[in-house]
Symmetry: C2
Subunit: 196 residues, 2 copies
DNA sequence: TGTACATCAGTGAACGCGCGTTCACTGATGTAC
DNA sequence: TGTACATCAGTGAACGCGCGTTCACTGATGTAC
C-alpha cells in the first residue's frame, strides 16, 4: 500500500518547495514569490516551509543554488553533445549559457541579482563556483591572453552575458523586422593551444 | 515672506518623490521602495503620491526614466570632457557607462530589470532610447562592421554591460588579492573611419 | 516480533505589521469679471 | 484692486489584504530493548 494520502511527512518537501518556488518565479517574477504561495503550490500548510528554510531568504538561496546547477547543466550538456575541438567546446558552452538565459529568464535574473550577490550559503556558493569553473575549463583549451590569466574568461563571459541582456531587451535588431544579430558575429576570438 | 511652512502645494512634489524613491532604492534595493516610505521621505502624507503617479508602477517608471537621463549624462559628459578622436570618444562613453554602474548600482539594476523591460511610458521609452543613441553616435565614427549595421554597437555594448555585471559580482580577479582586470584589456577593437 | 518512547514534519488558528487604496475634507492657487 | 468661485494638491482616518512568524497540537517515523 505505497500510495494513499500522506498528511504528514511529505517525503521530500524541501525539493517540492524549491520546485514550487521556481514555478512562481517563472510565472510572476520575484514579486510573485512568497513563502505562503510557495507552500500553497506544494499543497502544504503555510507554516510548513519553516521546517526546511530559514525564512524567505533561505528559500531564495536554495532556488538560486538549484538554478546555478541547472545553468551549469545547460553548458556541460551542450559541450558534451557537440564536437570536441576547443573552438566547438567554447561555442557549445556559450550556446548553453544563452539557451539557459532564454529558457529560464526568471532564474537567470535571480542568479545575477542583488540579493544573491552577497549570499554566503555554501550550497549556493559552490553551485555558483561550479558554473564559473565550466567556463574556465573550456578557456584552458586556449592560449592564455598576453595580459595573464582570467583575461580570456572575462572577454568571453562579458560578451555573452551582455549579449543575453541585450537580447532580453530586444536590442539586437537594427529595426523591428530585422533578424537579431547572432552571437557568432560578436564572439571574441581565442587561439587554441594545440591542433585538436 | 517667501519661506515658512507650506502645508499644501509643495511646489514640485513629483520631483521630490522621484528623488526620495531613488534614495530608498539606493539604500535598500527594490524591496525598500514603497509608496508610503517614499511619501514619508518627502515629508508628505502617504496619500499624496496618488496625485502624481499611477501607483507604485508609475513611480517606478518615473524613477527609471530619471535614471536613464542620468546614465546618458554620465556618458555624454565623459565624452565631452575627453579627447575628441573616435577611439577616445568611445573609451569615454564606456567609462561613463561603467562609472554609472558603479556609482548608482541600484539605478543600474533598475533600468535593466524585468519590470522596466516592457514599460510603455513614453517618458521612459524616450529616455532609454536616448541612452542607446549616445552609443550609436559614437560607433558611427568607426567603419561599419562587415556584417552590417548595429554589429559594432552590440560588440561594444555586450562587452561593457557584461563587464559591469562581473565587476559587481567581483569576478574580475584571478584571486582575492589580485587587481581587477581592466576593461581596456577586453574592449573590442573598431576601425576609425578617418584620421581624426 | 512487539512495545515504549523520542524525534520529526506536518496542521491550523492566531498575531501584528506594512502595504496600497479610498474618501471626505480643506487650505492654497488661479481665473473671471 | 477686490470679490466670487472653480480647481488643484495636500491631509488624515479608515479599510481590507497578504505577508511572515509563532505556537500548541498531532500523526508518522525511527530507535532501543
Amino acid at each position: 500500500m505505497p500510495t494513499k494520502s500522506t498528511p504528514h511527512h511529505h517525503g521530500n518537501l524541501r525539493r517540492a518547495l524549491v520546485s514550487a518556488g521556481i514555478e512562481l518565479l517563472s510565472e510572476g517574477g520575484r514579486a510573485n514569490l512568497t513563502l505562503r504561495k510557495t507552500a500553497a503550490r506544494a499543497n502544504v500548510s503555510h507554516a510548513a516551509p519553516a521546517h526546511h528554510f530559514d525564512g524567505l531568504d533561505g528559500l531564495l538561496q536554495a532556488i538560486a543554488a538549484a538554478a546555478f546547477l541547472q545553468f551549469t547543466d545547460y553548458m556541460v550538456s551542450a559541450r558534451a553533445n557537440g564536437q570536441q575541438d576547443a573552438q566547438s567546446q567554447l561555442q557549445s558552452i556559450v550556446r548553453g549559457y544563452l539557451d539557459f538565459a532564454q529558457d529560464h529568464e526568471a532564474l537567470f535574473d535571480l542568479i545575477f541579482s542583488e540579493p544573491i550577490k552577497n549570499a554566503k550559503n555554501p550550497e549556493l556558493v559552490n553551485a555558483s563556483a561550479r558554473a564559473f569553473e565550466v567556463l574556465s575549463e573550456t578557456c584552458a583549451l586556449f592560449h592564455e591572453h598576453p595580459n595573464g590569466p582570467l583575461v580570456n574568461e572575462i572577454r568571453i563571459w562579458s560578451s555573452v552575458h551582455g549579449y543575453a541582456i541585450l537580447r532580453k531587451f530586444d536590442r539586437l535588431r537594427p529595426h523591428p523586422a530585422a533578424p537579431a544579430i547572432p552571437f557568432d558575429w560578436i564572439m571574441p576570438t581565442l587561439t587554441p593551444k594545440a591542433n585538436t
